[in-house]
C-alpha cells in the first residue's frame, strides 16, 4: 500500500504483470474510490459546464458521458475529467483525486457569473469500482437486472449491482471494454466481493495502481501530472479531438484557437525504445548534448512486451518514424516515434 492523495492505495496485489495480463485477456477490478466527484446542478447547469469544460457538454444526452478537460485561460490543463449527464440540469464530473480540492474551488468560482447553478464536492458520497477486460460483461451481468448490452461505450444506466444502488457506466482507463460502477461507500465492499465471486469462473483478479498505469499507457491515455498539467495545452498534448469547437464559451478557447492557427511548436508523441533500456518519467530527450524534450511516461509494457513511453518533442521530431534519443541515466539511448495508441483492443 502507498499513500496517494490522502488515500492508502494498493500498487499491486499479485504483481503488475499478471494483473495487467488478466485485464487484457480476462478481467480485473480496481478500487478507484479515490477519484473525485463534483456535481453541477441547477437551471443553468449546462451553461455552467460549457464554461468550465473544453468539450461541448451541450451535445450530451441524459445517460451519456464525455471525456473533457478543465482548462486554464491559457488552454492548459487544470485537470482532465469525465462528464456524465445525469439529468437535463444535473451533471456529475469525475476528476483526479489529487486535484479534487483545486478543481472544486476553480469550478465554484468560474460558474458564479453563470448564476442559478450550484457545484458540490460529492466525492465522499461515491465509491467507484472499475471492472475492465474482455470478460467484464459476463462477470457483471449476473449481478444486475440492467441489460448491459444496451449500454454503449460512454453511456451509463442506473440500477442495482449485488442489491446495492449503483450507476453503471461503460467507461474506463485501460483500453479494454469495461464498466465503472458508482456505489454508496457503505456498499463498496459488498459489490467488490460479489464481483470477485462472480468473476471466479473467468479468473478475474483485483488489480492495483501499478497495472492501471501500465494499462492506460499501452492504451495511450494521458495521466494528469505526468503527460498533461498546467504547463501543457490540449493541442500540445495531442488531444485536439477532445475540444468541442461548437462550444464558444469555454475557458481557454481563445488561446487554443490562436495556437491552432499558429501551430504548436512541440507535441506529445508515443515512442518505442530501439536501444535497450526503459525511459522513465522526467528523463530528457536529447539532440547531441542539448535537451530538446522530456519523457512524461514510460515503462516496459507487459502485454506488448516493449519499452514504450510518451514524450514532448519539437514538432519537427513528432512524425512517426522520427528517431530520438533519450538520456537514460547518462546514456543516449535511441528510440523511435510511433503512432498512438500503442495498443488497440480487437473488436
Amino acid at each position: 500500500m502507498v499513500p496517494f492523495a490522502g488515500w492508502d492505495m494498493p500498487v499491486e496485489y499479485a504483481g503488475i504483470t499478471s494483473e495487467h495480463m488478466a485485464v487484457r485477456t480476462r478481467a480485473g477490478i480496481f478500487d478507484v474510490s479515490h477519484m473525485g466527484e463534483v456535481e453541477i446542478a441547477g437551471k443553468n447547469a449546462e451553461a455552467a459546464v460549457r464554461r468550465i469544460a473544453c468539450s461541448d457538454p451541450a451535445k450530451l444526452k441524459v445517460g451519456q458521458a464525455q471525456y473533457s478537460g478543465l482548462l486554464t485561460p491559457d488552454g492548459t490543463f487544470l485537470d482532465d475529467m469525465i462528464i456524465y449527464r445525469m439529468a437535463p440540469t444535473h451533471f456529475l464530473i469525475v476528476v483526479n483525486a489529487s486535484n479534487t480540492a483545486k478543481d472544486f474551488a476553480w469550478i465554484s468560482e468560474q460558474i458564479k457569473s453563470v448564476g442559478e447553478v450550484a457545484a458540490i464536492d460529492s466525492s465522499s458520497r461515491y465509491a467507484l469500482i472499475a471492472l475492465a477486460g474482455p470478460a467484464s460483461r459476463e462477470v457483471l451481468q449476473p449481478l444486475t437486472a440492467v441489460e448491459l448490452g444496451e449500454i454503449s461505450p460512454f453511456w451509463f444506466a442506473h440500477g442495482e449491482v449485488a442489491n446495492a444502488r449503483a450507476t453503471i457506466a461503460r467507461t474506463g482507463y485501460t483500453g479494454e471494454d469495461g464498466f465503472e460502477i458508482f456505489v454508496p461507500p457503505n456498499m463498496a465492499d459488498r459489490v467488490w466481493q460479489a464481483l470477485l465471486e462472480s468473476g471466479r469462473s473467468v479468473d478475474l483478479v483485483p488489480a492495483g495502481l501499478g497495472a492501471r498505469d501500465t494499462l492506460r499507457l499501452e492504451a495511450s491515455m494521458r495521466l494528469y501530472g505526468n503527460d498533461i498539467d498546467e504547463t501543457t495545452t490540449v493541442l500540445e498534448a495531442g488531444l485536439g479531438w477532445v475540444i468541442g469547437w461548437s462550444n464558444e464559451t469555454f475557458i481557454g478557447r481563445d488561446c487554443l484557437l490562436a495556437q491552432k492557427a499558429s501551430g504548436v511548436t512541440r507535441r506529445l508523441v508515443g515512442f518505442e525504445m530501439v536501444d535497450r533500456g526503459i525511459a522513465r518519467h522526467g528523463y530528457r530527450v536529447m539532440q547531441g548534448d542539448t535537451p530538446i524534450g522530456v519523457v512524461t511516461s514510460g515503462t516496459q509494457t507487459p502485454f506488448l512486451g516493449k519499452a514504450i513511453g510518451m514524450a514532448y518533442v519539437p514538432i519537427d521530431r513528432s512524425q512517426p518514424g522520427s528517431q530520438i534519443h533519450i538520456d537514460i541515466r547518462g546514456r543516449a539511448a535511441a528510440a523511435r516515434v510511433v503512432p498512438m495508441p500503442f495498443y488497440k483492443r480487437p473488436r
Binding site: V11, E12, G15, I16, I278, T299, Q300, P302, R329
Partner: protein, 124 residues
C-alpha cells in the same frame, strides 16, 4: 523464502557467495519482492572493475529502477547473459540467480557484510 547460510548479505539487499577468490553476486528475495516484476537488468562488461558500496549496474521492474551495489572490490570475470532474455529469473529464484562473478582483490575495504541471521534480523 529462506536466506541460505552459504553466503553473506548487504544492507542494500545484495547477496555475495565466495568460492576461493571468486564472488558471485545477486539480489535477495526481499529485494525482488520490493521491486516487483523485473524486466531489465543492466550489468557491467567483463573485465570492468567494481568497487564495494558503489553501483555496478541497475535493475528495472515494471514500476521502478534501482541501482545494484557491489559488495566487494574486484574485477568482473563473468556476467549472467541469460538475464538479458530472462530477467524474470530474478523474481523466480533470486538466491540461485547470480548476476556477476567477481575476482576479489584484497585492496580496499569491503562493504559491511552480514550473515543470514543478521540480515533477516535487519528485515525485521
Amino acid at each position: 523464502m529462506t536466506y541460505p547460510d552459504d553466503r553473506k548479505y548487504t544492507k542494500d539487499h545484495e547477496w555475495v557467495r565466495f568460492s576461493g577468490d571468486t564472488a558471485e553476486v545477486g539480489i535477495t528475495d526481499f529485494a525482488q519482492q520490493q521491486l516487483g516484476d523485473v524486466v531489465y537488468v543492466e550489468l557491467p562488461d567483463i573485465g570492468s572493475r567494481v568497487t564495494a558500496g558503489q553501483s555496478f549496474g541497475s535493475i528495472e521492474s515494471v514500476k521502478a529502477v534501482s541501482e545494484l551495489f557491489a559488495p566487494v572490490n574486484g574485477e568482473v570475470t563473468e556476467v549472467n547473459d541469460a538475464l538479458k532474455s530472462q530477467p524474470e529469473a530474478v523474481n523466480k529464484d533470486p538466491h540461485a540467480t547470480w548476476m556477476i562473478k567477481v575476482r576479489v582483490s584484497g585492496d580496499g575495504a569491503a562493504a559491511d557484510l552480514f550473515d543470514s541471521a543478521q540480515y533477516q534480523g535487519m528485515l525485521g
